[in-house]
Symmetry: D2
């Protein structure tokens, strides 16, 4: 870290600071400028480093403490410079240069609905099926998902189509149960900093799709991934799904620069969810194409066989025909952007 002293800091302040740093196990280097003195503290980071930085910031002669090292290690690009590539759901390889498409409804509403949707998105070329059985809802009176019944319908849909299942888990007590059905566990935006849940999912052997919190920074998101990685789960996919801004016309602001930025900061594959990312069905295709042009590793798209009747997120779901047209566009566009669509599996 670098400690920037106030203009009023004296010689004895500097000495006091260096003594403290020594006690904390740091070596210190001094740079004196005309206006400010700054002290670089280096050495093996002690485990309570965050506390040390806060304590130093309290000192009257300290103006600011600037951290140097990133707060994540296993999630950092340096840990795996070539980028992570792994298989999910027996047949889909993520991070290998092709675009993987996850499609399906916001919520599982019944067997017929999810099976029909699974068939439709499979026909159009999707690689995985999404569908929520447990739903995080802002208010207690909203539909909270079909729960276990929804999981059973997802199993039926997988049997019918061969598509691996991506579904959300909300409660650390449900992880084992959801993991029996899911091929990929989804962690939603509101749970990005639900640390007990992250730890529980980190101990699970299934791959994880970790959505970005709607006001989270990249660093916070990667630290959330670090929770998963540090528990031993190395198959972590990140998913940008829009952040909260002052604009109200769209539900969220899709931050597509996350694609090149996360690729630089981390080795983990980066997905884009243009459905939550805009909240408006008629913007989904434009943003999905933009995501592939920017180099995303995959997409997560809400598709409903009858969006007007959807129980949740009706405003942002596209229908099967719109999804089919989008997949055609992506098939043409992808190869020009280094993101050809992932081959479709042979099982049915």
């Amino acid at each position: 870290m670098v400690i920037i002293l106030t203009p009023a800091a004296t010689e004895s302040d500097v000495a006091d600071l260096r003594r403290r740093l020594r006690e904390f196990g740091y070596q210190s280097h001094l740079s004196r400028g005309e206006e400010r003195t700054l002290v670089g503290a280096v050495g093996a980071a002690p485990p309570n480093k965050a506390a040390i930085m806060e304590a130093l910031e309290r000192l009257a002669y300290v103006e600011r403490v600037v951290p140097i090292t990133r707060q994540y290690k296993l999630a950092a690009r340096e840990f795996n410079p070539g980028g992570s590539r792994f298989e999910v759901g027996g047949g889909v390889t993520v991070g290998a240069g092709s675009a993987v498409v996850i499609a399906g409804p916001c919520s599982v509403e019944g067997e017929e609905q999810i099976v029909a949707t699974a068939r439709a998105v499979r026909t159009a070329g999707a690689h995985m099926l999404r569908g929520g059985a447990f739903k995080p809802r802002t208010g207690p009176y909203h539909f909270q998902g079909l729960g276990d019944e929804g999981l059973r319908h997802l199993t039926t849909a997988r049997a019918a189509t061969g598509l691996p299942i991506v579904t959300e888990v909300l409660d650390p007590r449900d992880v084992a149960r959801v993991a029996e059905t899911a091929d990929v566990l989804q962690l939603g935006a509101r749970n990005m900093q639900n640390f007990p849940l992250l730890r529980e999912v980190g101990r699970c052997s299934l791959p994880v799709l970790l959505k970005r919190g709607f006001s989270a920074t990249y660093a916070e998101w990667l630290q959330a991934a670090e929770y998963l990685l540090s528990e031993g789960n190395r198959r972590v996919m990140l998913c940008e799904r829009g952040i909260r801004t002052f604009e109200e016309h769209t539900r969220n602001c899709l931050d597509l620069a996350a694609v090149p930025a996360i690729r630089e900061l981390s080795h983990l594959p980066i997905f884009i969810d243009p459905s939550h990312g805009t909240g408006r069905a008629r913007y989904v295709a434009a943003m999905a194409k933009a995501a592939i042009a920017a180099g995303a590793d995959g997409l997560m798209i809400e598709v409903h066989i009858d969006p007007h009747a959807a129980w949740t997120d009706a405003a942002q779901a596209i229908d099967s025909a719109e999804f089919g047209a989008l997949m055609s566009d992506l098939a043409a566009l992808g190869p020009l952007c280094g993101r050809p669509l992932h081959p479709v599996g042979g099982n049915d």
Copy 2:
């Protein structure tokens, strides 16, 4: 709700909309303006109202759907126009017009530390003791709290001072265990939308302090409270602890207008946490006084017997002497603002 049609909407669009509303169980009222037609839909709100609104927004001839009713009922001021007032910790009455002060360290660091702090804040006039045994930390390598050992130290501190204990619970699996020690369960900002946790705490008989999420709106916060209330727990205190803004000099931006606004929207008592709300110890006193002047029902303040040595949040903790001076100021200021300090209990 009100449905605003696009300028291009035709007569048959209007008829189609009214037919749909009828099917959903609504009556509709039409207002034709020169530029726009708008349709008011009234009637008993069906349980899937949010879904209906989303489905209507999808229609090509609909520009916007405006909700009319608030998404919370038990938390609304109308539910209890006189304001909620209840006892916590056997002797402290919240919401009765006097200011209740919760003070203590961010984390329990050991028996000696928490007992000494408890004694110091009690001497200065605090009404309850805060101290975290389970800590939500952005990264997995940060100190995560002493856990059960921390709970034991809190019990010791209560025995030594008589101060009721406010401590955070993070995991739905820990609620019963933490409730054995705590007098008030704290739900942190990152867990404001952790719905399984809200439900579990809602089923508990202890009072709750629900912090506002750092990017949450009042409506989302009150819907989170509604989760607690709808499970039967009516002793809910709200606590504003600062929101994320573009300013980096302070850790958060303390939104003091939450005091009059929450009082208008809800009957629940409103607390202010100036420590997290600014992140800087030297701004805490100014903001604590401002909170009381604005009419807050209580304060939550981080106090550490040796802030420079605090394991967490050192930058924002004040020491015992600073806390004592602040309590004197509040004792003078409070009566002028309709917020005299709550009387200190007689047990010791």
Copy 3:
């Protein structure tokens, strides 16, 4: 507008409201629901409508006033449903389905620099040259642009390459002078709500590129455009250049959903500036391609012949070789997205 009454509103409150609305020249329609009564007010909007809405919001029995009509008319899509298409700089047609690329340095630094850059971007296929002679700078001690000398160098660069000039104007007193040199006047993000400047530029015959304020909503941006349009200047291009969010890794967050959203709300062409939009040179190409994939009408890209030596915005400028490679990519990608590159003019 729709006026939503509080649950406590009485019959005489409703009568009072309807009387007020009648006095303001509105007709009112009543919808009574189980929880709320709402009143739709229609009729020719009086000029002081904003004031009326505010006055109604003050009434104790009014919960909220919801505007129905948009606050802009000339900028709305309905005003020109087919979309605006116009010529700028004698030979470049904007809004006609092809992608127009504006490139050049942040600041004009000297004749040699701007002429060399102009030649380089022209060779790579750019359609217009950007370069700032008057620079808005956060602090007074930063380089403020070469001023009139910069304008002379831009004239030289245009003579050398035939490229039309896009340059910023900051001060209403400079509009006439800058208009003598420029082919397109640029209004920067910080001046989006500089109303005297908007009016002055609106009275000018040159086309305008209006950047979005870094915290502005679409509605505010389109109202700023309305200032230009209502003064008679109909050749207005909008340019999204990134908004301020909590993320610090990138300088701004490029809101690409502005492309489909503005196309829906307005008939004005929409440009994207991925240089300011990310603030990092190495993300510019990814975001430029994403912008074209999303359907942007054009791009504005910072190019410097020697970015390491740039006087301003060095971190976000790409060099001539990078720009050339990007233009090749766009030439391949554009036709697949309905955005082939605009043909390059024949003059030299």
Copy 4:
């Protein structure tokens, strides 16, 4: 500045960086840690320092460049450690420990209205009269102020009451004209970064009230003040008027921590505007009291003799009776907070 190198930086990268710094006129100091190397660059800051920092950030082996010195000098607390104190309007001293209250309508609507309001606020104890003759309005069809006629009415109101006049100027071409009438020039939030206007007002001899931009940081605000100070105008008051956040119930979020923060960072007096800061008349008194409790140097409050009839900002104006009651509360509260109300002048 401190330059933090990437983990991959080599010895020759370090040598290259130090050579570049030498050429820019800096001395460099090296600190090698286990994970990162960092280089402190000290020496007289060259005028193009911002450009140098950007250029360094472009280097592949540089992770981040951290500025050390603040970007403002004349506005910094160090420039005047005791705090600025100056007279405005012949009789009111700002910054001397007493609270100065500016009150009046958003807009001047006519002679009768402004004179009656001036009398009412004077009776209640206000020290200065506010009233807008030139109004910045989001859309071109909103009331833009009475202009010169408004200035004449303000002159009449001053003659009638002796209250100094605070009024906004929007256009650099109007500064001289408005200065003939005004005692204090107000620069509004939208113009905080209107640099030509700042320079023109900086050359004027009148004191200035500089409002914070609605998404500006403290550093940007103080740099805007630096524009004024560096032109020679030393009588600058800062005014916090609420920032934009995600909360929609209030118009803005009043950032009261600006009071202690600005006092620490700068010597300039800090005012609070609770009217714009909340946008709701019924929250104004609570936030005005909170501002004084936090130690503000003054308040700016919208008062209208008949708020329901106000042409602008009706929702946030309080009436004369409410203002009178607030002034009584402040008179009692102020002395306890080190902010007794400024004595009322004797002229009439």
